[in-house]
């Protein structure tokens, strides 16, 4: 996983609540067996018209948002399915951070595991950031995970909170599995106890 420390870039405004995973990456694009290449179908139903041509009204088809690295949205972002293809599509497009008032649980987890940082900030602040983002190339937003602040184009610093363990793993680009494997003796012990107490769980 790519580490996330600090990023300064273009933020795309997506002033919608309940952006679900089918909107982020429609099911018909889930057929790849690799983690790459989903970016071209990110928000496909909004980005492309029925004949496959680009919809010029959608924010990610406009300059400078084609190069957006941050996405600002409203409540309950990422609701719907557990598909990890949603953060993969964001990442593959180039978006490393989503800022919203809240996120669906599974999506939130999946983001952290893939180096996409979900930042939860109150609605009023998201509204301000939405206005900042609408200024396009003239307004770069910084997201600093080390210091846990979002810096607005006018220099105002907005603190946010992240789970300490997730933050540690993300700052260092560490893989969860390697970490967990250090607990192998405890897992062995658990299995031995469970096998004795509930043998029907072992075949």
């Amino acid at each position: 996983m790519q580490a996330f420390t600090k990023l300064t870039g273009i933020a795309a405004p997506l002033p919608k609540a309940n952006v679900d995973t089918d909107q982020i990456i429609p099911a018909r694009f889930l057929k790849s067996i690799s983690r790459d290449g989903f970016g071209k179908n990110l928000f496909a139903n909004f980005r492309f018209k029925e004949d496959g041509t680009e919809n010029p009204d959608f924010v990610l088809n406009q300059e400078p948002y084609r190069k957006a690295e941050v996405l600002i949205a409203f409540e309950n972002f990422g609701c719907g399915s557990s598909r990890e293809h949603a953060p993969w599509a964001l990442l593959d497009f180039g978006i490393r951070c989503v800022i919203a008032p809240d996120f669906a649980d599974i999506f939130n987890n999946n983001c952290f595991k893939n180096g996409v940082l979900p930042v939860r900030l109150p609605r009023e602040i998201c509204e301000k950031l939405m206005e900042d983002a609408k200024m396009g190339g003239n307004a770069r937003i910084s997201v600093d995970l080390e210091r846990q602040v979002v810096v607005r184009p006018n220099g105002e610093e907005i603190p946010f909170q992240t789970d300490p363990l997730r933050r540690h793993l993300m700052l260092n680009g560490l893989d969860d599995i390697g970490q967990t494997m250090q607990h192998a003796p405890a897992i062995d012990g658990f299995e031995a106890r469970q096998r004795a107490a509930q043998p029907w769980l072992y075949t």
Binding site: A27, R28, S34, N110, P164, P199, W200, L201
Partner: protein
């Protein structure tokens, strides 16, 4: 010895599976059963291969194909779509390489992952169950803690049989009294989501309680737990009781004999203790629930079938008004229109929400001796090969076919636009599945969610209809 603090069903299962608690409060949680399918696993197996890791407990892992496959005879001659075929073939290669038990496409036991787990007796009370699929919440009906995970977590479970998890909060939803005529588990859960909204359960595990839940059969409980995820909760659960134990006793792979007796002792200790703390509580009166149908593009946009399409102009909040307007436009509706006036093109009875034998019986009971409207295409897709066989043994396939329904092979089918069963743009469907998002059943498709009996009524009427107007014609 000091008396132990009363605990919930969730608390008990959680505590029994914590391997270790990390300094920040994250638990390393042991996973008893890991169900897998073709869509969310290829990248996980790739990760294992790249790191030279093995599957820690193949015996606690089960693989099946369901999302990508055709549900007509063409499944016997091979999958046509090259990308779908590649996903299925990749799973078949991976299960061989990693030694994971696999139910192949043409096996009688093949079916939707959330139907086969309970049906085979693999999903049991007190277990922790995961799958790379949000509707894993279905298995909570067995009295298990079951939730969906992403592909990185699939890889984590394959390699370590554990997950890093923070405890959830407890929420209890009690449905008291008796359900009215024409209503089912589907109507209960739609009514709940209508009340709490699609984010109402966020951060919580919901335990369903009350006489109306106790009175549901296992299929009804599974429907309720299945759609818990649509209310934003991590998982849904029903405490195991005699209904649960009787169901397990009839499954092919559940514990037998001495093992069953021992298991039963532990299962009986699971229900929440009197006085256990719930962070949130909701009570509903069962008799107030009428047959439900969604009108918009998320499951909280739901109304009794007697309702009318809402007018976005009545909504005070600007953002909400815009969202309602978008729903009305996408769904091709007119504010004030009666829901029963909405003509449907397609009716789908199936999906992990409603494709069990009880669901098919419910649809057949309404369809018996009647005809599907001429302009409607109606499909019944059993959740598994075993459900299909059972239905055929009961003659339900004949009743449905005679009424004009298509009778299909098991799979996810028209629940999501990933296999050949899709809506075309603008088509309106009455569907027993769980999501009515834009494009879910195919680009431009318009989905109304409802129960199997309501779906059957819509097929006969040719428009959304009130099942209470369709008394069954004789027993089935």
């Amino acid at each position: 010895m000091s008396a132990q603090k009363p605990r919930t069903l969730f608390d008990k299962i959680w505590a029994a599976h914590v391997v270790e608690t990390l300094p920040d409060g994250t638990a390393l949680l042991y996973i008893d059963l890991h169900l897998t399918h073709e869509v969310t696993t290829p990248q996980a197996f790739d990760g294992l291969r790249a790191a030279g890791r093995k599957v820690r407990r193949p015996d606690a892992t089960l693989a099946v194909v369901d999302h990508n496959i055709a549900t007509d005879d063409s499944r016997r001659t091979g999958i046509v779509d090259p990308e779908s075929r590649l996903q299925v073939e990749t799973l078949e290669k991976n299960v061989v390489e990693f030694g994971v038990p696999y139910i192949p496409l043409l096996d009688d036991r093949q079916g939707i992952v959330h139907v086969i787990g309970p049906e085979l007796g693999r999903s049991l009370p007190g277990m922790t169950i995961v799958c790379g699929d949000s509707h894993t919440s279905t298995h909570g009906a067995m009295g298990a803690l079951a939730f969906g995970i992403g592909t990185s977590e699939v890889e984590h479970v394959l390699a370590t049989q554990t997950l890093l998890q923070k405890p959830a909060k407890n929420m209890r939803v009690s449905v008291d009294g008796n359900l009215a005529f024409g209503c089912s588990g589907k109507d209960i859960v739609l009514a709940i989501i209508g009340k709490i909204g699609t984010a109402g359960g966020t951060g919580h595990v919901i335990e369903y309680a009350g006489d109306a839940i106790r009175a549901l059969d296992m299929a009804g409980r599974m429907t309720v737990c299945n759609m818990t995820i649509e209310g934003g909760a991590r998982a849904g659960m029903v405490a195991p009781d005699q209904t649960t134990f009787d169901y397990i006793a009839k499954t092919p792979n559940g514990p037998k004999g001495e093992a069953f007796k021992r298991a039963l002792e532990w299962w009986k200790t699971l229900p929440s203790d009197a006085g256990a703390h719930f962070d949130k509580e909701l009570r509903l009166a069962a008799h107030e629930i009428a047959p439900q149908v969604t009108w918009g593009t998320n499951p909280e946009a739901v109304l009794p079938i007697t309702g009318i399409v809402p007018n976005p102009a009545d909504e005070g909040d600007e953002a909400k008004r815009a969202q309602l307007q978008r729903m009305v436009d996408y769904m091709g509706l007119t504010p004030g229109q009666r829901l029963t006036d909405l003509k449907v093109d397609v009716v789908f009875v199936g999906s992990c929400t409603n494709s069990r034998i009880e669901d098919i019986r419910a649809a057949a009971a309404i369809a018996k001796g009647r005809r599907v409207a001429d302009h409607v295409r109606a499909l019944v897709v059993p959740g598994s090969g075993l459900v299909k066989k059972q239905a055929e043994a009961e003659g339900l396939d004949r009743i449905l076919r005679e009424a004009g329904f298509e009778w299909r092979e098991a799979g996810c089918s028209m629940c999501l636009g990933m296999n050949p069963d899709k809506l075309t743009p603008g088509q309106r469907s009455a569907s027993t599945s769980n999501r009515n998002f834009e494009g879910r059943q195919g680009p431009g498709g318009r989905t109304h969610l409802l129960s199997p009996a309501m779906a059957a009524a819509a097929a006969l009427a040719g428009h959304l209809a009130d099942v209470r107007d369709y008394q069954p014609k004789g027993a089935i």
